[in-house]
């Protein structure tokens, strides 16, 4: 039953497999549907925006386009990155507006079988539950699927 609902959400392909770009954030593995990812960037020069919500890291110039950078750590209430740690970002689009999610590291592209999918455990933190579509059981670890639209929709609500 749950599987069915999830299938709708993920706009399932016939073979029951989903492709995800995996990203690391404070040691946690997260997945973003591969089609949602526009760019993967190394560390960029980011212009901070005073007065903006704290999870808005600033704005950056991506080939002449202005992209709003979101600090995913702050968005998900994770501790701030240590200064010496490297950072990368993943550019996604929400309502035709580009956003760059600041993350620690980009992993690989995984094609995962639907059978590995489970809904969010009830014990998950409310903030996480909101932006995670569910969890994939990988062999050695667990991967939460990031709902990009939810992530930025709620940010809209917060901002407004």
């Amino acid at each position: 039953m749950n599987d069915l609902v999830v299938r709708d959400d993920l706009s399932v392909v016939a073979n029951g497999k989903q492709d995800f770009v995996t990203i690391y954030l404070a040691g946690q593995l997260l997945g973003i549907p591969v089609l949602a990812v526009h760019d993967v960037l190394n560390a960029q020069k980011i212009t901070p925006i005073p007065l903006a919500p704290d999870w808005v890291a600033g704005v950056l110039n991506l080939r002449g386009k202005i992209v709003t950078a979101i600090s995913l750590r702050r968005r998900l209430n994770l501790p701030a990155r240590k200064p010496d740690e490297k950072s990368m970002s993943v550019v996604i689009e929400h309502n035709d507006e580009p956003y760059s999610l600041q993350i620690d590291k980009v992993g690989e592209v995984l094609s995962l079988d639907d059978s590995l999918f489970e809904k969010n455990p009830n014990t998950l933190d409310a903030c996480w539950r909101e932006v995670s579509r569910g969890i994939y059981r990988l062999e050695d670890t667990l991967m939460a699927v990031l709902d990009v639209d939810k992530l930025l929709e709620t940010t809209n609500a917060v901002a407004a």
Binding site: T47, I49, G58, V59, N61, I66, T68, Y99, T155, A159
Partner: protein, 1030 residues
């Protein structure tokens, strides 16, 4: 949509706009022949085109309007307001239909018989029955010109050659004529007739022509020449050609043959092929072989003309000329010779965006190059830069349109209003050819229309009202547009009734936009600005024209949306002027790049007035009043806002109390002040560093940042970094100093007067001596100074300080206080003419706006009384006392003190041109129990008399500009309204002769100016005398 229909809609729309304007012109000058001709021509064109496109409803309306216009033109009908109104109505009807066509591509259903009936009635009105002849004939001619007789369908573009054919037939004996001749000829033996008859006449030819056209379109070589043409057109052409040939009409045949094709490569080979096709067609139609050969031979007659490229060229030219003459039917060919083309706005927008990006990239390249010396890229880059600049200018120019386009509808609107409201209004438009970006133009069109409408509706009075006020019967609304420093300024001025603050106040209170107390503090100009608030309507009642309350606030927000500003000034009874300042273009703006706490920001130049460098010990120094930073700029205090504070960044100097800026790196000790203007509010934004100005392309911020009013956008700089663009409106708002709370420089002067008349005052609070804070009216304070303690010198037992090249005596604000033990001593400087003194205080606390309601008199010298200010008992000091302390000769002390009667507050009118005295006497008199109104001139006092204000006593200065006290007294005594009011003169002129003169003109008493006790005594005595008399 069909291209032709599209073209028609655009063209007709333009024509209608022109007619709108012209008609109004005509009404003003009915005998203007060129104007009538122009209108008639335009309406006629519209009508003609409608018929051509098969739009009967539109055509009939235009036709009836044209009838009336033709009567105007011929002088058969007089141009009256009624007739013009109906013509305009019909134009509106046409517009409506056009709009519907644009939306649906089809003519809407509807009945215009009423309108047409009225139009016809007007046309018939003067000359009954005369309307009949033109009516039936007109549409017919139109139809005849443009509808293909054979097919009965309307023409498409590219078929001009057909029309040419028709003309050829018309000029020569054509088929119709030959038909007449045919009948007898046909009765003869077939062999004896012309080839035309022998082949089988028109019927056969029609079939042959049909076959030829079909063959040609599918022919391997000839289709290249004829394939592009319509089968019907080809058929008609060959029909005409063959008929002419076989009837031996050589000239007609040549003319038609010359138009077979315009292609210069149509040579002998092709002609041979064509002949073969004709011959084949003949055979197919079973024309006898002999005739067939003969017919084919006849084709040779037109070989030369058909193959001659030169001939084709001539024909083409002739055709182009003709198609130009018959513009509506001309279709495609006519456009080849026009000098301008229509380009879709979207394309221009795209171009503009691309160019903007190009400029940015160019800037980036330049920046990189600048950092590298001896770069081989430098020269080509320079060239690229130049090209880019020119390209940018060029593209900008394509978007530029004269502002007159936005105004085109205004004469009509004003004209309609004059009829509807029964007013007389003259609309003047200056600078209509001032060009600005079409995007901007579109955005200001509606606000402008709205404002003109407003001016006409509420601004201009009714004619009789105007006459009664001594104005010209006809009101004037003037639009003026001009360039000024990269901006367009648009002024909208009317000479109407102006805005009345007193009428606005109840509205403001009703809408809850401000409290009475707040309003009391405001100047008239500030109150007038409430019209820019949402939901505020100027109209006393809602008319069909305006007054629904969606007005000036929308105008303001629209103008601010495009980075413009709007300001107004209005004098009641004289008129109103709106001043709109808008940028030339939206895409690229010039911005000042500043730095705050290591971050760079852009401030659009439009809001920047000037830059001031402030540093310790320099001419400009940032000072604090209770942590509120200010700077003196040309003898005015400029409120300051730290950009760091507004942005929530840490300020450099952590100790706000001291003004010493301690930079982190310790290198500079200076700040830059960006003097910005929002509306009429001028303030300074303090930034750490100012870089240069840069042309930037404003890009909107991401939606999640939309609710940060402090940013108007962001942009990419030449070095590729992204920076935020600061919205000065947002800064002003964030610093909690809305534009309406402050006044502009030029209003400040009026404001002193206003303030004096109001019951509230700006008070400077300070601490000196005992626990209670003390207060003094801010308007009395000339400057705030902060002297190092070592500057204080002892002279004759008093402190003096060297100040501006002379010695300034310093008086302690409280006898119990001593000079501060800190390094710097705050001092309030008071100044009256040549006298300048300093009042040493312990600490300056704040500046507050408060109602100065002195409830306790005071026996303590130097204290006028106590008042509750900010919930604290505060002593208000008597500056005159301290002045007399500092300068023995300033005031001669007198002893007499008498308690004035305070039973019911007598009203006193105080007239003095010196701000200082007004401000000094007002609290003095109010503590003595009088209700004081203070004005700065005798004229203002007389105005109050006109307004019907009554006083119990008038205290007037003698020495005043314009109307002196003596003249004032004369006019007071000569008018019954105030003649019985006691009049007390207050003057520095105290000679016996002056006293005599004063009494002679009607002053009841005469008091020396600086003698407050005598004044109070005199006042109470005068009131008593009057009370006894009453």
């Amino acid at each position: 949509m069909d291209d032709l229909l599209n073209e028609f809609l655009t063209e007709t729309g333009e024509s209608i706009d022109v007619v709108d304007v012209e008609i109004v012109k005509l009404e003003q000058d009915p005998s203007n022949k060129p104007v009538i001709d122009n209108i008639f021509r335009l309406v006629h064109t519209i009508k003609g085109t409608c018929g051509f496109l098969g739009l009967p409803r539109l055509e009939s309306v235009a036709h009836s309007a044209e009838n009336v216009l033709s009567k105007f033109r011929d002088g058969e009908l007089e141009v009256t307001q009624d007739s013009v109104t109906i013509i305009l109505e019909s134009l509106d009807c046409i517009k409506e239909i056009l709009a519907a066509i644009e939306a649906t591509e089809e003519e809407p259903e509807g009945d215009d018989s009423d309108l047409i009936g009225r139009l016809d009635a007007i046309a018939a009105g003067e000359t009954s029955g005369a309307s009949a002849p033109p009516e039936p004939s007109e549409p017919d001619t139109v139809e005849g010109e443009i509808v293909d007789v054979d097919s009965g369908r309307s023409l498409k573009p590219g078929e001009v050659s057909l029309e040419e054919l028709e003309a050829a037939f018309a000029s020569a004996p054509g088929p119709e004529e030959s038909e007449v001749a045919e009948t007898p000829a046909a009765s003869d033996e077939a062999t004896s007739g012309s080839l035309y008859d022998r082949i089988g006449g028109e019927d056969t030819l029609a079939v042959v022509a049909h076959i030829i056209s079909n063959k040609l379109i599918n022919h391997s070589t000839l289709s290249a020449f004829f394939g592009g043409q319509d089968a019907e057109a080809l058929k008609s052409m060959f029909m005409g050609l063959l008929a002419a040939l076989y009837q031996d009409q050589a000239d007609v045949a040549e003319s038609v043959g010359g138009h077979l094709t315009n292609d210069a490569s149509f040579g002998d080979m092709q002609f041979d092929a064509l002949t073969a096709v004709v011959s084949e067609a003949m055979k197919e139609c079973q024309v006898a072989a002999d005739f067939c050969d003969e017919a084919t031979m006849a084709m040779e007659l037109v070989r030369d003309v058909a193959t001659s490229a030169a001939q084709a060229e001539v024909a083409k030219k002739a055709k182009a000329e003709k198609s130009k003459a018959s513009a509506p039917a001309a279709g495609g060919d006519g456009r080849k010779i026009t000098q301008s083309i229509r380009v879709s706005v979207d394309l221009l927008e795209d171009l503009m965006n691309m160019v903007s990006e190009l400029v940015l990239t160019r800037n980036q390249l330049m920046q990189i190059c600048r950092n590298q010396e001896d770069n081989e890229l430098l020269v080509p880059l320079q060239r690229l830069s130049q090209c880019t600049t020119e390209l940018q200018e060029g593209v900008m120019k394509t978007r530029m349109q004269p502002i007159g386009n936005a105004w085109a509808k205004l004469p009509r609107i004003v004209r309609d209003l004059t009829v509807e409201l029964d007013k007389k209004i003259d609309l003047q438009m200056l600078g209509a050819d001032t060009e600005l970006d079409r995007q901007v133009l579109e955005l200001i069109k509606d606000p402008l229309t709205h404002m003109v409408r407003n001016s006409a509706d509420h601004g201009i009075e009714m004619p009789n009202e105007r006459l009664a006020l001594g104005k010209k019967e006809t009101g004037t609304i003037r639009l003026n547009a001009y360039h000024e420093g990269g901006h367009i300024i648009i002024e909208i001025t009317d000479d109407g009734r102006g805005l009345s603050a007193s009428k606005l106040i109840p509205k403001i209170l009703e809408k809850g936009l401000a409290t009475q107390a707040e309003l009391d503090e405001m100047s008239e100009a500030q109150i007038q600005r409430f019209i820019f608030h949402a939901g505020f309507s100027m109209a006393a009642k809602v008319t069909s024209v305006s007054g629904r309350g969606v007005g000036m606030d929308v105008v303001r927000s629209n103008i601010e949306k495009i980075g413009g500003t709007i300001d107004m000034s209005s004098t009641e009874g004289k008129g109103t002027t709106f001043l709109i300042k808008i940028p030339l273009t939206l895409a690229i703006v010039s911005a000042l790049i500043v730095q705050a706490q290591g971050n760079r920001f852009a401030i659009p130049q439009i809001s920047v007035l000037e830059l001031v460098r402030a540093a310790e010990g320099s001419e400009y120094e940032i000072e604090n009043i209770n942590d509120a930073p200010v700077v003196r700029l040309r003898n005015r205090l400029l409120p300051l806002v730290y950009l760091n504070d507004v942005l929530g960044l840490k300020r450099d100097d952590q100790s706000a109390d001291s003004e010493e800026d301690k930079k982190d790196d310790g290198t500079t000790d200076e700040d830059f002040i960006v003097v910005a203007q929002v509306g009429s509010y001028i303030f300074g934004i303090v930034v750490d560093q100012v870089f240069d100005t840069e042309e930037i392309v404003v890009k909107p911020v991401a939606p999640i940042l939309k609710d940060l009013p402090i940013y108007s956008g962001n942009t990419i700089l030449g070095d590729g970094s992204v920076i935020m663009i600061i919205d000065t409106n947002g800064v002003a708002y964030a610093s909690n100093a809305g534009a309406t709370e402050q006044e502009s420089e030029d209003q400040q002067e009026d404001d002193v007067t206003e303030k004096a008349m109001d019951d509230t005052d700006s008070l400077l609070l300070f601490r000196a001596g005992n626990g209670n804070p003390k207060a003094v009216m801010l308007s009395l304070v000339a400057r705030l100074e902060d002297f190092p303690v070592e500057d204080f010198e002892d002279s004759n037992g008093r402190y003096v300080v060297q100040y501006r090249g002379s010695l300034m005596p310093i008086v302690m604000a409280d006898p119990s206080m001593t000079l501060t033990d800190k390094t710097r001593q705050p001092v309030l400087v008071f100044s009256d003419g040549e006298y300048t003194m300093g009042l040493a205080v312990e600490k300056i606390l704040d500046i507050v706006e408060a109602e100065l309601n002195l409830n306790l008199g005071s026996a303590t010298p130097g204290i006028v009384g106590s008042a509750i200010i900010e919930d604290k008992a505060t002593e208000v000091i008597d500056v005159t006392y301290f002045l007399s302390q500092a300068f023995a000769n300033w005031l001669e002390k007198r002893d007499a003190i008498d308690e004035s009667s305070t039973i019911q507050k007598p009203r006193i009118l105080l007239i003095d041109d010196s701000d200082f005295f007004r401000n000094m006497l007002k609290p003095l008199l109010s503590v003595a129990g009088y209700q004081v109104s203070a004005v700065s001139s005798a004229q203002a006092a007389l105005d109050m008399r006109e307004a019907g204000v009554m006083f119990d006593m008038i205290v007037s200065d003698i020495e005043m500009p314009e109307i002196s006290g003596f003249d004032f007294a004369k006019s007071v005594k000569s008018d019954p309204r105030w003649s019985s009011v006691p009049l007390v003169a207050l003057s520095a002129l105290t000679s016996e002769r002056d006293l005599e003169r004063g009494r002679a003109v009607g002053f009841d008493d005469y008091v020396a100016k600086f003698d407050k006790e005598t004044l109070l005594q005199a006042l109470s005595m005068q009131l008593k005398i009057q009370g006894d008399a009453a």
